[in-house]
Symmetry: C2
């Protein structure tokens, strides 16, 4: 803030800095934008003036010229109830916010749970108010993906967008290999009747983790018993229901690979109510390594998704896309985390 000739408060502009430094506004702008074609002397004078006046750039004025907003949207199109319940969401959101903040780029949080919200957010984004979007949408054929792509808005998705013609950047954990590692581990510890609770078939996690399960059974020469495969929807409740079904269909199962920690929690509950000891009678393996995995009794053996790296990569890729790079995909390795349940 500064006092104008009329004594009123107004914020300090590039003009004030220029006067203070004894240079033109153009020169101030040049040092602000990287200092190219500026003499060291002018550079120093301007920097001193900036410090003295407490100048901070007016981003609106800048954006008006450059056509860029220097902000990014984090768009959630998932049926929100479920995903907001998921502890992974927090980890992702926080890490993205911080990775962006490190570059001084604010994150606009947008939720497109209803059709009306979807329209509004799309209008805002396509209005050019953000430079790109970090997209969290796991269901197949989400129209948001193609709309954004058609509008020419840089997008990086979390997880591979299924059923899309558009070529969109994404970063994902290696679901299939993660699932393999877990099932292999169950097999190696002597389990032979290994069941699985899958995620929805229209999500990458639903498809890939099941594929990994099948891979290992084949590898090990174990027959694939379809009655041992039960679908879930990633919710805890669906884990309970799935476990009940399994207990009924295959009372002799000795292990379950569950495609998410939240569902694994449900499985654990049902198993314990059914009088099965974990891991003695039935070993349980989860997926995610979410905070939930620490709160079960026994602790959940699971597959860690590298959320920190996922977030960092998403941000890096989005910035690259905004800078003009072509779309690309990054697959990150997972890690088996052993606790008490298997």
């Amino acid at each position: 803030m500064i006092r104008g000739t009329d004594g009123k408060r107004r914020s300090v502009t590039i003009h004030d800095v220029a006067r203070e430094a004894g240079v033109s506004r153009g020169t101030v702008s040049r040092v602000l934008n990287g200092g190219h074609y500026v003499s060291p002397a002018a550079q120093a004078a301007v920097n001193a003036a900036i410090r003295k006046t407490g100048y901070v750039v007016n981003r609106h004025a800048r954006s008006l010229i450059t056509g860029k907003s220097d902000s990014v949207a984090f768009l959630l199109t998932e049926p929100q109830e479920r995903f907001f319940e998921d502890p992974n969401f927090n980890v992702l959101l926080r890490a993205c916010t911080q990775a962006l903040a490190a570059q001084d780029i604010p994150l606009l949080l947008m939720i497109a749970g209803t059709e009306a919200e979807r329209r509004r957010n799309l209008r805002y984004i396509e209005g050019g108010h953000v430079d790109g979007v970090l997209l969290v949408s796991s269901h197949s054929g989400d129209p948001v993906v193609s709309e954004l792509d058609a509008a020419g808005v840089p997008v990086v998705a979390c997880g591979k967008p299924l059923g899309q013609r558009a070529q969109v950047s994404y970063v994902a954990a290696d679901d299939r290999e993660g699932a393999r590692a877990m099932v292999r581990y169950l097999h190696d510890s002597g389990r032979r009747r290994i069941a699985t609770v899958t995620g929805p078939a229209d999500t990458p996690g639903g498809v890939e983790r099941l594929a990994g399960y099948r891979d290992v059974l084949a590898e090990c020469g174990l027959p694939v018993d379809e009655s041992l495969i039960v679908p879930g929807d990633y919710s805890r409740a669906s884990g309970e229901a799935a476990a009940e079904l399994l207990l009924e269909r295959a009372p002799d199962m000795d292990a379950v690979f569950v495609a998410s920690d939240l569902m694994a929690q449900g499985v654990l509950d049902t198993l314990s109510r059914g009088g099965r000891r974990v891991p003695e009678d039935v070993a349980v393996g989860g997926f995610d390594d979410s905070p939930a995995a620490l709160s079960t009794r026994p602790g959940l053996t699971t597959v860690r998704q590298p959320w920190d790296r996922i977030s960092t990569e998403m941000v890096r890729m989005l910035l690259a896309r905004i800078a003009g790079e072509e779309p690309s995909a990054v697959i990150l390795p997972t890690e088996l985390v052993r606790r008490g349940s298997a």
Copy 2:
């Protein structure tokens, strides 16, 4: 988008709309801003032109003039790990995002976990890049509150900011009365050795819920046994530790009022490991009615915080503050939710 005379894509501006409607840009701007002093005919022509051209206002240009950004920050200064772990956070964040979205105001998510992050966010906010801030900061004497206030930035806090000279707007649940209702309920169901696990003494929930506990004991003529009062920090782990201490100090306790659901989860775990049946041997009451309350066995009897209303009120008050209204406080009633644990 539109094609310029040179055939290049450029976005449609107020100028295009004016030409299409056969009026001046000033008139277009007037209908955009409420339609005052505009004839019905001009109004209609402009609206038609807007629809035809697909015009959407350039907010940067607008902000440059008005000095307002039409956006709001959601600032989290809590030591982040803990609060991001709290399911209440999600409920609050989602509801605020949606209440704001309904007014077409984007929410910028900011996390000030470290000193560096705090500075950066403050600089951004004080640079006038947001019109106001929704503040989530529960520890006493948070410097962010006074800095924001000193900079003249409208603020509405979630929960009463403790240890502040600044007069800041806030909305909070009626912690004290909520605690009273719970302890009264425990007493009414015949419990006489009622312990409590409190929140940190520098948070409103830590102070008020304990006060409510004391109120009821006094009301009922029960002696206050200080050894029955154990402090926690809202985390699940602290609930476990507190319960261990209580089991040791007061093996005859028959109820515990726990100041958060997360801690209550920990208490439940410890109790069950200690061989106590809930609610038969010990009744357990929580606070929050967070998603965690549904996932315990038995379900947690707790005090519901009206997060929807809290969020709605926060947004409403912030908008009022931005519009020039004086600070104010809103206290919202809580509700006792009975489940299996008490």
